[in-house]
Homo-oligomer: 492 residues x 2
């Protein structure tokens, strides 16, 4: 029986005893002989003693606490199941299946088009996906045009968030990111790491670091895939990675990133597994975990200092001669086409480009046939050099081929949330740097588990973050973190 059931049974008995006392009072006013007053006072005092003991029963205090947790769980389940039901009943079954089928097929079409730098080969299926998602957005929003369409899609990934809020956030971030990049690019560029890194050694080190970050391989797997991703939840939370012989950081940091996602899923309260609460609160909150694991922790000076020794051992030496040089190489800000390879400073600028273009695609302001040109123009304006080929431009990302319009901005939200979390974490966890310098991120991941991950979808996304950081969300901590970190690195 549930605590709520026990609590209600306890309350029912108390209510029955209160009624008994009520009968004594009724009797006193209607039937009782006058001379019985003193005895009645004792009877009522005795009943009050029984009632007071019941009302203050310590077991009641414990039941109340457990029942409150049960109620929170049920209220959140109701909210989420209801939202899913409201959403699903607006979508015809035909459209739901057609979207799933088209997205599945489009994946192969896009992969081929990207491999062949063949934009035209991808556009027909992209057009289909946009048509289907616009139709879906119209079903969801009840509108056929305007901002409501994109907001309806965004809502799938970041509930309760509007594009206008994200645009305001991006407007606040852009000038400081652009200024920081400009200042960095005027400085000499640190040397990159070069060499030939044994794949087995890379995978062994990667696996060791995944475990250090708390990934439980008893409830997960690490496999190879073209694009790293995480999949599943609860006790089957898997990740994939990829290995490049000339770039050990590809496997390493994509793994730490996916470990952030997978640990979030693994660390959700086991009672929530296979319930509506048993997943991350939103894509933005999810991304905050992968980002803080990868960047704020994994690319920090103390952790990289520890990593320097590990890499020397694993690969029998390195092309750089100090932890500081490795740190500079890992946090190198360089011109580049590819979002997934972007440094922390430029990453959000890649997102802003996609956010604006996909809103225009959904609103119909941008025709699919004009997408490549729009991308290339915008890239030149934002990054100052020309896209050399479609696989470095409009074809680089898998998302639109999966119909994921409204997903990209959650990456930038994740960065903002990670900035807020890191500020709160630093205030709470002293000696964090000392632990990281020993290759031990557990003080941080324990904090994240307790403050955020274990709650799953118990609370709405914004509340999930705000409760974890103890205040409102702001881009300021992320911007300050970037300005301080890269200011120190580049002597700004």
């Amino acid at each position: 029986m549930s605590a709520m059931g026990d609590l209600l049974a306890h309350a029912a008995q108390t209510a029955a005893l209160e009624q008994v006392t009520g009968r004594l009072h009724w009797d006193q006013e209607t039937m009782m002989p006058k001379g019985a007053a003193a005895q009645r006072a004792e009877e009522i005092a005795a009943m009050e003693g029984v009632l007071h003991a019941r009302r203050t029963d310590p077991a009641l205090g414990e039941l109340l606490e457990t029942a409150q947790a049960e109620t929170d769980f049920e209220a959140s389940s109701l909210r989420l199941i209801s939202r899913s039901y409201q959403r699903a009943t607006k979508i015809p079954a035909r459209l739901a299946a057609e979207l799933a089928r088209t997205a599945s097929l489009a994946h192969g079409v896009w992969a081929k088009a990207r491999a062949e730098d063949d934009v035209a080969g991808f556009l027909p299926v992209l057009e289909q996906l946009i048509t289907l998602r616009r139709e879906e957005a119209a079903c969801l929003s009840g509108e056929t045009r305007g901002a409501a369409l994109y907001d309806a899609l965004l809502n799938d990934y970041e509930p309760e968030m509007r594009a206008s809020e994200i645009a305001a956030l991006f407007d606040a971030m852009r000038p400081r990111l652009v200024a920081l990049r400009a200042a960095i690019l005027e400085k000499p560029m640190p040397a990159a790491i070069s060499g030939d890194f044994d794949e087995a050694a890379q995978l062994a080190l990667t696996r060791e670091i995944a475990l250090a970050f708390g990934y439980d391989l008893d409830k997960g797997r690490i496999d190879l895939a073209v694009h790293p991703f995480s999949s599943g939840s609860g006790s089957d939370s898997r990740i994939t990675t990829r290995v490049a012989r000339d770039d050990p950081f590809n496997a390493l940091y994509s793994t730490i990133h996916e470990v952030g996602h997978a640990c979030y899923e693994q660390n959700i309260n086991p009672l929530y597994h296979l319930t509506a609460l048993g997943q991350g609160a939103s894509m933005g909150v999810h991304e905050s975990q992968s980002r803080i694991y990868e960047n704020q922790l994994g690319r920090s000076l103390p952790f990289v200092t520890w990593l320097y020794g590990q890499m020397q051992t694993a690969f029998g030496g390195l092309s750089t001669d100090s932890p500081a040089a490795l740190y500079a190489a890992i946090n190198r800000v360089a011109k580049g086409y590819i979002r997934t390879e972007a440094d922390e400073v430029q990453y959000n600028l890649h997102i802003m480009l996609r956010f604006d273009l996909e809103q225009a695609l959904i609103s119909g302001d941008l025709a699919v046939g004009d997408l490549e040109g729009a991308w290339n123009d915008r890239f030149m304006a934002d990054f100052g050099f020309a896209v050399d080929r479609p696989s470095h431009g409009v074809l680089q990302d898998v998302h639109w081929s999966a119909g994921l319009f409204g997903y990209f901005p959650t990456y930038a939200l994740g960065n903002v949330y990670a900035g807020c979390l890191m500020q709160a974490l630093r205030a709470d966890v002293l000696n964090l740097d000392a632990a990281l310098a020993q290759g031990n991120p557990r003080p941080a991941t324990d904090w994240l588990r307790e403050r955020l991950q274990r709650h799953g979808s118990l609370k709405p996304p914004r509340q999930t973050i705000e409760d974890a950081i103890g205040g409102p969300v702001s881009p300021e901590p992320l911007l300050r973190y970037l300005e301080e970190k890269f200011g120190a690195l580049y002597g700004l």
Copy 2:
């Protein structure tokens, strides 16, 4: 099994099927042969079909609705049981029993003192009760002085209400009530009803009217008592009445009043009986029901017009010759000492007097020995004539002898709430007057049951009223009702 249990089981199966789809996606990215893409698209579309059917299952819509009601019930139970637990654990068992014993004994002491007009005989036990209640208030509030003490006691009867809010309400009402009374008292006073009214006939008519108002005698009783009261709840909701041979309105209107209380208890959702929700939301809300039954309905012109015929039949004639004269007699505004006999215009002024005096008793600003003088001075100031004996003054009410400090203002709140309810009821229930003119208040009592009574303590008091009236609480409807009714009656 509960709807919530069914809902969670349904959601768990959906979540499991979503995980199955997740495995297909994982496989597609890691292990699937390239040539399987088209078949995989069909597999995923088929799974999406299964999922969409589950997510839009009409049974899910019904479960959601029922589970929402269960959750509301549980959340309210938790709130109320938790409040009771928090309250009770602050009170030592000794104090709880001592209060119950003293209040029980004090009842007889007060009754004797009132019968003998012997203030001094009552003061020692009153002093004890004040000391015990102050001690209780200090336990509850954590304060030893100031407004928090009285607020802690008020909170027992009207949760979430503060004395300062009530004082502001009274300040807004007083000038218009005083002005209305002054204008009325300058006019000729209507004749009262006189005669000798057979007690059995009175009780028979009273019983018939109780049934007309919806009182269920299968789950209640009407007995004789010195002071009319209601007792019990749910399927044992009793009332008492009293009969005076020279005043048939004493039995009649005290019965309609108590029927309002008892119908509220009887009409609460049967699922709430013997639970924390199975009582009226507060004393103020409770009083709104007794008041609207007694005054806005029972003392209305159409109902009194019907009553005129009934009384002529029951008593073989009346000392007045028209329904209009009976209506004027029943709504006569006259000088008087006694709160329970006060007309609608002056009633709240009696409450304001008690509200101020009892706050002073609890704060310690007024010593028990000075209470009678304070009462008499204040009565002279408020009513313009002197109290002639204690049983017409400070000894008239039973409440303080029961330790009920903080209870009186809920009567005036009940009047204010009744004013709001009557305004909303009139807007919703057309032909109300036609039904009342046939001795049928059921359109009104049905509306009150549906809009308010059935919810019991599901919602906090203010929300209970606001949901019923569809807006915020204000004294304006009551004041306008009084000014219109008595303006018309007295030709103001």
